[in-house]
Symmetry: none
Subunit: 206 residues, 4 copies
């Protein structure tokens, strides 16, 4: 009660049993739903536990704080995103820069549609600055790697181009979140086109 917990860093506890593993997965998906539905601040641990058909105690067994839960989920989604991009890169060898750009653009949009909690998690205000920066850098590097294998090669600064793609992601976010905005869809398509044009310009005339 009056514990003065030695400042041991709290950490997500790894489950040691199969049941635990399953539960963790269920809890994460429940958290995803609730974060997507309510946003980070308004999401409550109670609602997440309920969504997982679990007890609040079980939730805390594995995720000892709300920020840690959010972070665990964020990392999971980030891994999926990175895996997806890597996967795409493999299957897209030989694409033109412009084609690559469009492919990534579409992939990002699809990702956000599938994981609407992602922008919520990425945007929460309590992420340590450096972690935020690191995540962005990783993503940018993955996109850059993707663009680097374009044929003919891109002559402009590839990391910069990657940054652009990433920023355009933000727009994808909004468009994805607003299903009735027919207008937005056209804007989205238009931006996709702008990206294509830009990458064509950045391409060496072979």
């Amino acid at each position: 009660m009056t514990s003065q917990k030695s400042s041991e860093e709290l950490k997500t506890r790894a489950p040691k049993r199969q049941r635990g593993h399953d539960r963790v997965a269920v809890l994460l998906e429940a958290a995803a739903k609730v974060f997507a539905r309510r946003g980070y601040d308004a999401a409550t641990m109670t609602e997440i536990a309920a969504e997982a058909h679990s007890s609040i105690g079980s939730l805390y067994q594995f995720f000892p704080t709300k920020p840690l839960l959010a972070e665990a989920l964020h990392i999971d989604r980030l891994e999926r995103l990175k895996a997806g991009l890597r996967d795409m890169a493999e299957r897209s060898i030989g694409l033109s820069a412009a084609g690559s750009g469009e492919a990534i653009f579409d992939a990002l949009a699809a990702f956000i549609e599938q994981y609407p909690e992602f922008p919520v998690l990425a945007g929460r205000r309590d992420i340590p600055k450096d972690r935020k920066a690191r995540s962005r850098a990783e993503l940018r590097e993955l996109i850059a790697a993707f663009l680097r294998q374009a044929h003919p090669p891109i002559t402009d600064d590839i990391v910069l181009m990657a940054g652009i793609v990433l920023e355009l992601l933000r727009i994808a976010v909004v468009v994805s979140s607003d299903p009735d905005a027919a207008e937005d869809r056209r804007v989205f398509a238009e931006l996709r086109l702008m990206l294509r044009k830009r990458l064509e310009d950045a391409t060496a005339k072979d």
Copy 2:
């Protein structure tokens, strides 16, 4: 979260006297600071009152709920933005489309730098869908009006172009909020360039 609207529609009460006007202004600016500093959810009415060197009682005198306060501030900022755009339009007659685009782009970035609470307010999750749509439509129309007076005229869908400019605003948000991101600034500049190119393409060759 704990709002229990009484039967009568709550409305921001208009102050009857000069002193009231001043007080309202002070309260709004205080709210702006706190929203910018903490975000919408984490901002507390108490902190806002304190920031205004006022009491909660006084705050509630004018703004009977937190959402209403946010909305009042949001509307104020929207008015300023619209006024700024109108003003700019007047002073920019005869600009090329590309020049107009850049001008707006810069203006939006500057606006957000001056009013960092704006994206917070625009992003809060409890805005009625229709109000959100309306705000966006108004802004889009103002930008469209701006673009319409370009010389030579734009041949493509002007409202679409306006939508694009508006979406790019999101990127400005991030760039403005992250002062150390040198990389981001380059991306920002690059997007600005992309916009210019796109508008040049959309221009009738006179």
Copy 3:
């Protein structure tokens, strides 16, 4: 909700209205009762608020954390004790060392009987080391001052003697807390006698 309170030291808020002052007094007495009844850890803020016929919110209005409440009460009791000792000192000029010792001994026992929460507060585990030391030093000094005015004067180390009296306080605590222990009372009396003897030994034969 996700507030990252800048690390402003939380402090007991001073009431600015008469009503507030009254309430603070009531809350402190309620806390005293509950701490005495349950001990520090087992005492709950809820029970304290209830004991004060107040709401939990009101309690927190003035005492933003449980440790702070305990500390405020502790300080209050310490003040009373010091005032009592000072007062006693005035009224006891000319007493012999042995008489002084007995007087203080009795006074301490009476104090603890009146304020049974005192040992609870003094013993809670989260008091900063230095504050604990300071309190003890203050008390020791007051007792020392008391002893210093004895006639004939004490020849031994007075501060040491004061320390002894203070330690004997611990015994008073137990004896006071255990009302049925007839045996304990005799022990208490015996210790009182030992103190008298010791102080007689420490006295200059005038």
Copy 4:
């Protein structure tokens, strides 16, 4: 706090095998460390299990509730203390009363230094009144027995003298717990001296 005793009296289960015995010992020592470190309330069953490199399940196998664990440990320590006193008594036949007093005084201090969890256990608030009284009586009797064999014999009430020694234990507690208090050490020595004097007075002049 949340104990829901099932109908059958819960009792510390005696282990049937050697392995069980070892485990119990390890668990008790772990509990000792944690109680000493955190105090009774703040000590958690989980931390105790961890300290024992065991699981909560195992801990509960042997000690079905936290109070029962505390009590088992308390009894163990009490046994050790009693054994130690008995042992000392044997080896100290023929000592003077004053010498005996000092010997016990030192022995108690040493005991508490070795078993710092002892005062924590003895002080916990949920000990049944009668058990508390019984423990004290036992100890007092042991000390009395010790004093009874002094030469020359004590003429005053021996049980009373024993009570005094026991009360002085409290002071030993504090002095032992506060390693930096040089002042306290002097007080401790002084009390030891007072005890010697008192016992000399209580001795028949042979």
